[in-house]
Structures are given as structure tokens and as C-alpha cells.
């Protein structure tokens, strides 16, 4: 079984390394966007899957990162590698401002507050012409320079996004098995019990929310400098919902599942092109069916399935 896992890992890495040379340019662009989304999805699975926070506004934080990084690089002339951490910090800071009062409240209050926050930011982005360019958005955002040269190909952006995503995956895995990771899950499972066991409940939730949002900011910054263009519609409530669906499809807890969910859902519109205008109806019903029949997500279901298969073989 060890060997199986090892070969699976090697095959996965080889697949990711070979992917840009095997698929069409168009699919490569979607894959790059999927990898960038996956960073925000891992962030959300941390807040939502681990800590149990019903965050329905992740796109708002992706937007803060994207606008923050775009504005910092265009107005202040900062390089991406300075603008991006600044954007992450900005997303984290905004999250902190919201989290401190909101996370005293539970369940549906946070869900409604994050929806309200997402819509409010969208309205501001549409109307603050001077800063955000209004509904026209911001175009001409500079690309990313690496080792003194600007990345010009989709393949280049693919490997950059893959590298950053890999770093985020490693970070999340380390975090998962840290004291903080165990604390977030304890808080989700039972706030009162974990509180009396000495876990600082509110602080744990606030930190999970801030990390989640900072990762969304990172995802947004990457997106802005890759697409060279951002507009309020890229960060609307609908985007938040699709990020959340990526988490659910991947399985709330699983880090690789988040990556899988992001890739699957990014390609779903392509595969479902034959349903035409009924895409959202099919999408909504499909999500409902996943929730009913596979509450652990497709990845969780696959994992359980391979596990039983393996145990049978033994």
C-alpha cells in the first residue's frame, strides 16, 4: 500500500509536469485559472471545512487581493513580488476587521454577514471610479517578472501557479497537523468542550478566517497579474458560491480534494457546454445531488472507495 501511494504521488507529479505540453492552449488557460482558484479553495476549506465557519463571501477577499495588487503595482509602481504580499496582508487585515465582531456570532449570522459583505464590496468596486475603474474594471495590469524576466507564456504562468499552489498545499498540510490545526477542528466539533479544554475558541476562529482570506488575496493577486484585467463581476457572489462548491465537491476537509474540486469545477462549464443555456440549472441540481448523496464530497467518496477496495485486496 505504501508503494501504491508512492507511485500515485509520482504519477500525479508527472501528470502535472506534463499537462501543459499535452493539452490545448485554451485548456491550459483554464487549468492555470483552476490552479489559482485552488489557492482560494484551500483557504476556504480551512475556514469552512476545518473551523466550520459558514463563509459565503470568499470572492470578496479574492477581489481585495486582486484590486490591492493591481492598484499597488500600477499606482505605486511596485513589483508583483512586493504587491502580492501587500495584497495578502490587505485581505487578511480586512478579514480581521470583520472577523473580530462577527465571529462572536454563530452559524447563519456569519453566512448573512459575509453575503452582505460580498455584495457591498461589489457595489463599491462598481462605483468608486477613481480607484477601481468602476464597472469597466482595471486593464493593463503588468505581468509577473521572475528571475529578471517577464513571464510571457501560459506555460510559464502554469508552472508559477503550480509552484505557489504546491507551497500552499505544503503549508496547509503542516498547519493541519499543528496545534492550531487540531484546535480549529476541535472548535468546529464542539465549541464548549474545546473552550473548557483550554482552546481559545474565538481567537482560533479569527486566525482561521484571516489565513483563509489571505490565501484568497494571494489567489486574487496571481489572477490579476495573469489575466492583466479585472472587473467587479469577477468577484461577485456567484464566484463565492462556485468557490464554496469547489470545497464541497472536493470534500470539506481534504487539501488535495480542494485542488481536485477546483480543477473539476473549472472545467465543468466546458464539459457541460452541450446543455447550453440550462448550465446553471444543471449545475444547481448537480450540487444538490452531491450534497444529498455524497456529503463527504466526490474526493471523499473516491477515497473511501479506494480504501475499501484495497482492504478487500488484502
Amino acid at each position: 500500500m505504501k508503494l501504491n501511494q508512492g507511485t500515485a504521488m509520482v504519477a500525479l507529479l508527472a501528470g502535472f509536469a506534463a499537462a501543459p505540453f499535452l493539452i490545448s492552449d485554451y485548456n491550459l488557460r483554464i487549468l492555470v485559472l483552476a490552479l489559482q482558484s485552488a489557492i482560494a479553495v484551500i483557504g476556504l476549506s480551512l475556514a469552512f471545512g476545518w473551523a466550520g465557519l459558514i463563509q459565503l463571501g470568499q470572492a470578496a477577499f479574492i477581489g481585495v487581493g486582486a484590486y490591492g495588487s493591481a492598484i499597488a503595482s500600477m499606482r505605486l509602481g511596485l513589483d508583483f513580488w512586493l504587491a502580492m504580499p501587500l495584497a495578502m496582508a490587505l485581505s487578511g487585515l480586512v478579514a480581521l476587521l470583520i472577523a473580530v465582531p462577527m465571529l462572536r456570532l454563530r452559524g447563519h449570522y456569519l453566512a448573512l454577514a459575509t453575503v452582505g459583505f460580498n455584495v457591498t464590496l461589489e457595489i463599491i468596486a462598481k462605483n468608486w471610479q477613481g480607484l477601481t475603474g468602476g464597472t469597466d474594471g482595471i486593464s493593463g495590469i503588468p505581468g509577473i517578472r521572475l528571475f529578471g524576466r517577464e513571464i510571457e507564456t501560459d506555460t510559464g504562468y502554469y508552472f508559477l501557479s503550480l509552484g505557489i499552489l504546491a507551497a500552499v498545499v505544503v503549508f496547509a498540510m503542516l498547519l493541519r497537523h499543528s496545534r492550531f490545526g487540531r484546535a480549529t477542528i476541535a472548535v468546529r466539533d464542539d465549541e464548549i468542550a474545546s473552550g473548557t479544554s483550554g482552546v481559545p475558541v474565538v481567537r482560533t476562529k479569527v486566525v482561521a478566517f484571516v489565513i483563509s482570506s489571505a490565501l484568497a488575496g494571494l489567489s486574487g493577486a496571481l489572477y490579476a497579474h495573469y489575466a492583466h484585467f479585472i472587473a467587479p463581476a469577477d468577484f461577485d457572489l456567484w464566484r463565492s458560491i462556485s468557490i464554496l462548491v469547489m470545497v464541497i465537491v472536493g470534500g470539506e476537509m481534504s487539501i488535495m480534494g480542494a485542488v481536485f474540486g477546483a480543477i473539476l469545477l473549472s472545467f465543468a462549464p466546458e464539459w457541460l457546454r452541450f446543455v447550453g443555456d440550462a448550465y446553471l440549472a444543471v449545475f444547481g441540481v448537480a450540487v444538490l445531488l452531491v450534497l444529498i448523496f455524497m456529503p463527504d464530497g466526490i474526493a471523499g467518496r473516491l477515497q473511501a472507495w479506494t480504501r475499501t477496495k484495497e482492504s478487500r485486496r488484502v
Partner: protein, 291 residues
């Protein structure tokens, strides 16, 4: 001054629709534990069914209204069978996302059936206006306020002055105990969803002649009803009324005197202030009790 009074009357009309929708949202939450993010889409369906029913009946209002209520009852039953029953044992989060998913699907189906052209509908009281001094209001505005008040009164009588109402409230307090007391819980759940959908649908009907109907009409109404529920406080009829009116006034007066582009942001700002200062709302439950 007369302009101000006119604005306030219009705001009260819009606000009473928000109050009805907030009530639909809260009844679903209190009785079934579901935070229904598809509430706005139910309003859309009501408005669109209304437009079609008026065409179908040759603008015979009584039968058109009846058709809408019947149609919404069917929607409620579908919601009960297709969304609530399969998901009711899942964690609250899963159900919330289930309602979001079904809301997306419903809106898309509505778009496929009715198209994306805005539809104008008529009011049973016509399009006349009344003038008192310098204040001009349409008759429909007053009609909306009257019908909403009657609806809310009806819900109050149903919940607090009828045998069925005490069953509803028992269910809201403790479904297990209610079942043990011989209350037919599943039948009551299905009735709840019918009531919720009917209320949202009538709100859509009232909205029709005020705004042009298009498939996204309910989205904004749903969000503002959520804000109204938070401002007024969950689980309280006076809360829903006051919350709805406050949201209507904030939005209308905010659009007139502050900024029409930011009117919704102003409503959410008010909601955030309540979440910060008084999260239980004006008349609400103590929030620490609920997960």
C-alpha cells in the same frame, strides 16, 4: 416636504414587501431550522407566475392571484420533497448550501421559461394616483401596504391564535418533543414550506406593478429581507415588520438623499451596525442560544 412624504410612503410600501419576505425567511428558519437562501428566487417565481397568470386569465385578478398561490404551494411541496427531506439530517451548513444551489437552478429555469425581457404587470387597483396637497402617491402603493398588513396579520393569527399555530411553535421549539406529543411533524414541515412559498410568492405579486419583473428581481429583495430579519431580530413578527420598514426607509431615503448607486451598500452598512452593536436585532432571540 411633500417630496419627502411621498418618498416615505413609497418606502413604507417597499418596506412592507421586505417585511413579508423577511417573515417567509424567518418562518422557514424557526420551524424547520433551514436558513433559506432561495427566498429571493421564490419571490421571483411568484412575480413571474403572477405575470403569466394575468395573461392566462385575461387579467382576472382574483383567479390570477389564486393560481399564483396554488402554484407556489406546489413549489413549496417540491421544495419540501426535493430539498428539505433529503437534507434535513445534514448539518446546517449543508442545508444552507443546498438552498443556494436550488436557488441558482430555479433562477436559471425561470430564465429559460420566461426569458430575460423585463415584463410589466398590472395592479388590481389600476394605475391611478391620488393627490393630497402636493403629495402624489399611486393607489397601488397603498394597496401594497394594505395587503402586506393583512398578510402579516393572517400569519400572526395563524401562529398565535390557532391550534395549528401552537403546533408550529411546538415544532420550532423542539421537533423531537413535538413528535412525541403526537404532532404529525412531517405534515407540519410540508405545510411550513407551502406557507413560506406562498408568502414569498404574494410578495412577488405585489412587487410586479411597482418594478418591471425580470428573472433577477428576487435576488436583491431576498438579500434585503435577510438584512431586515437581522435588523428586526429573528423569530419575531414585530421584528420582521420593523426590520422591513427600516430597510425600505434606509434604501429609499438613502437613494434620494445620499447616493442612489450606493443605496444597497447603505442597507448593508445598517445591517453591519446592528450585527456589531445589537446582533439579536430589535426584538430578537438571544443569539448565544442558537448554533
Amino acid at each position: 416636504m411633500s417630496q419627502f412624504i411621498q418618498l416615505v410612503i413609497n418606502a413604507v410600501a417597499v418596506g412592507s414587501i421586505y417585511a413579508v419576505v423577511a417573515l417567509a425567511f424567518e418562518i422557514a428558519y424557526e420551524s424547520t431550522g433551514v436558513v433559506n437562501f432561495a427566498t429571493g428566487q421564490l419571490v421571483t417565481i411568484g412575480a413571474l407566475l403572477g405575470a403569466s397568470a394575468l395573461v392566462f386569465t385575461g387579467t382576472h385578478f382574483a383567479s390570477a392571484y389564486l393560481l399564483v398561490v396554488l402554484g407556489m404551494a406546489v413549489v413549496g411541496l417540491l421544495f419540501f420533497v426535493g430539498v428539505f427531506m433529503p437534507l434535513r439530517k445534514q448539518p446546517a451548513v449543508t442545508i444552507i448550501i443546498g438552498t443556494v444551489a436550488i436557488g441558482i437552478a430555479v433562477q436559471n429555469v425561470a430564465q429559460l421559461v420566461w426569458g430575460s425581457m423585463p415584463i410589466g404587470t398590472k395592479s388590481p387597483v389600476g394605475s391611478q394616483t391620488l393627490a393630497f396637497g402636493g403629495v402624489v402617491v399611486s393607489l397601488h402603493t397603498l394597496y401594497v401596504i394594505g395587503v402586506s398588513a393583512l398578510l402579516i396579520l393572517g400569519v400572526y393569527l395563524l401562529l398565535y391564535r390557532s391550534a395549528l399555530g401552537s403546533q408550529f411553535r411546538a415544532l420550532a421549539q423542539d421537533p423531537e418533543a413535538a413528535r412525541l406529543m403526537g404532532i404529525r411533524v412531517n405534515r407540519l414541515y410540508s405545510l411550513t414550506w407551502i406557507l413560506v412559498c406562498a408568502l414569498a410568492g404574494i410578495a412577488g405579486l405585489l412587487l410586479g406593478p411597482m418594478w418591471f419583473i425580470e428573472v433577477s428581481i428576487g435576488e436583491g429583495v431576498g438579500l434585503k429581507a435577510f438584512a431586515a430579519a437581522i435588523i428586526g431580530g429573528f423569530g419575531s413578527i414585530p421584528g420582521a415588520i420593523l426590520g422591513g420598514l427600516l430597510v425600505g426607509l434606509t434604501e429609499t431615503l438613502g437613494a434620494a438623499y445620499i447616493s442612489s448607486a450606493y443605496k444597497e451598500a447603505i442597507v448593508f452598512a445598517l445591517m453591519f451596525v446592528f450585527l456589531l452593536v445589537r446582533p439579536q436585532g430589535l426584538f430578537g432571540e438571544r443569539i448565544s442560544d442558537r448554533a
